[in-house]
Symmetry: C2
Subunit: 343 residues, 2 copies
Amino acid sequence: MPELRYDPIRPRWVVIATERALRPQDYKRQRQQVKKPDNCPFCYGHEHMTPPEVFAIGPADRKPNTPGWRVRVVPNKYPALRIEGELKREGIGIFDVTTGIGAHEVIIETPDHFKHPDAFSDEEARDWLIAVRERMLDLQKDKRFRYILFFRNHGAEAGASLSHPHSQLIATPIIPPVVVSELNNAKNHFHLKERCIFCDLIKQELLLKDRVVYDDEHYLVWEPFASSFPFETWILPKRHLHDFTRLNDDELLILGRTIRDTLKRIKIALDDPPYNMILHTAPTPHLRPARTYYWETIEYDYHWHIEIIPRMTRIAGFEWGAGLHINPTPPEEAARYLREVQL
Amino acid sequence: MPELRYDPIRPRWVVIATERALRPQDYKRQRQQVKKPDNCPFCYGHEHMTPPEVFAIGPADRKPNTPGWRVRVVPNKYPALRIEGELKREGIGIFDVTTGIGAHEVIIETPDHFKHPDAFSDEEARDWLIAVRERMLDLQKDKRFRYILFFRNHGAEAGASLSHPHSQLIATPIIPPVVVSELNNAKNHFHLKERCIFCDLIKQELLLKDRVVYDDEHYLVWEPFASSFPFETWILPKRHLHDFTRLNDDELLILGRTIRDTLKRIKIALDDPPYNMILHTAPTPHLRPARTYYWETIEYDYHWHIEIIPRMTRIAGFEWGAGLHINPTPPEEAARYLREVQL
């Protein structure tokens, strides 16, 4: 069973993979990517190479784990956290351990081995996001989970070990540290001002304009004022809403189109860079009775959004040791490059 | 002038390089390393290729910026922060900006282009650390600086752009986020227990032993219980002390030997991996009158130490987006591999 361990010094949770522990010589091998369709577990006809699917979108008469699907969700064959077992929290002297209970699922976004979201049709993008929403809603029913994290790694340098278009969901029994910090911060702002910090931000940035990549009735595509990474790009919904899973199919179509166009801009401007895309949304709602801390005003103070980090720079000692990022491209310049892209 | 910008959402400071902004096409070029001595600015006879030195160890009759030095410190030619100018703090609507005042220096550790600290003699290691201490003491006199960060990037993948053995110092007008979190946490522990959290940790880990790589009278070399990275290694002094700069030359000789042996272990066990080494020590002492928050009990609650992070894994979306690291080698296993190395 993997473990979640709490660092009493820094202080934060870390997932420690206690089974199948990697030895020093294993790390190089790990970096290879499966690049060809003939041995790709995510291509049509290879459905037996993955654990049985938990969700799919396709024709009504299709049998599970056979070709014909448009989007397919399967448990990760090498999960960071395990679905089976009891959630136990214990102490070892000054240390804290929680059993590594969780879920780790893979959303196979398309049967096409070479078609990434930047090239999706509106409907393909929508169906991908519907699969994400449906799995999040289902995983949220499990009372052991406190957060469901949706993310996409693109390219080997961004951590993708398979090149077939896919994204991932990880359900965790703790709220991840970066999210805790964002939630606390948004709540503090609300307590001071009775306004959402994200709504404040959107209003100001639409006036100043120099960090805006794109905006329409629904979304602001934006380079953060204090971007930690060059060309870091956020997709912010203009409508205040704390929880991504509340979006209906029509709204997901609009979001899908916005994500597609943003990824296309980044691909063109930066020559198909590796990137990480992450959804920030509210924790699972059943925290409400147990820990009212996050939930008492979350409908007012939190605002879901998507963060995209192209991996242009190597992260050096200064960043890790101090948490102080050095960004060599000001967001105003980055916004200009991305704005000028012809879609 | 570079800027320090405060992220109102996450919340943390970021350095934005506003001059010489990198364009999309500049990033690939940036990754090349200067590998040969003939065009290396840090080799003997090339002293004119760096800004004039600010410190050196060598024969008494040596002229500055000529060969003969054993350790040489120069300002970074491409500094992340600038030494000239006034420290100004201002607001832009909901955002905060501070002028990017600071210092960025390079410690050229040896004239030998190919000799890294893992191969230093005791005296070479000591002299390297004396240069670090002297520069830190000097930079601490500048009242604009709140923190002096010492770090070493080894290998291109860890962010080193020159292969000649060198480490760096960055003085910042803010306390970096990871340090703030560690300082606050150590202080909270002290307020609760009137004990240093690091001293507690050392005591427990010497009893449990399974994460100990090496220990002697002076130092514990240790794999953290909640290591964020595989083979992450800390060097913890057994004697409680908050501030690295208080060490005398004899103490630096012992520390230098311990760092040398630890880096050698890592080099042998992991086949000369890229790594980042970071010193965590107290902020600059003249914070005391301005902000008593960190300093009122810092002599009791904080404990300087060194963190070494071999760069074995790629950092994916999950880590960036959630701050939740997945470590595929438990620290107990890592400690066993490193313990077994024959030095």
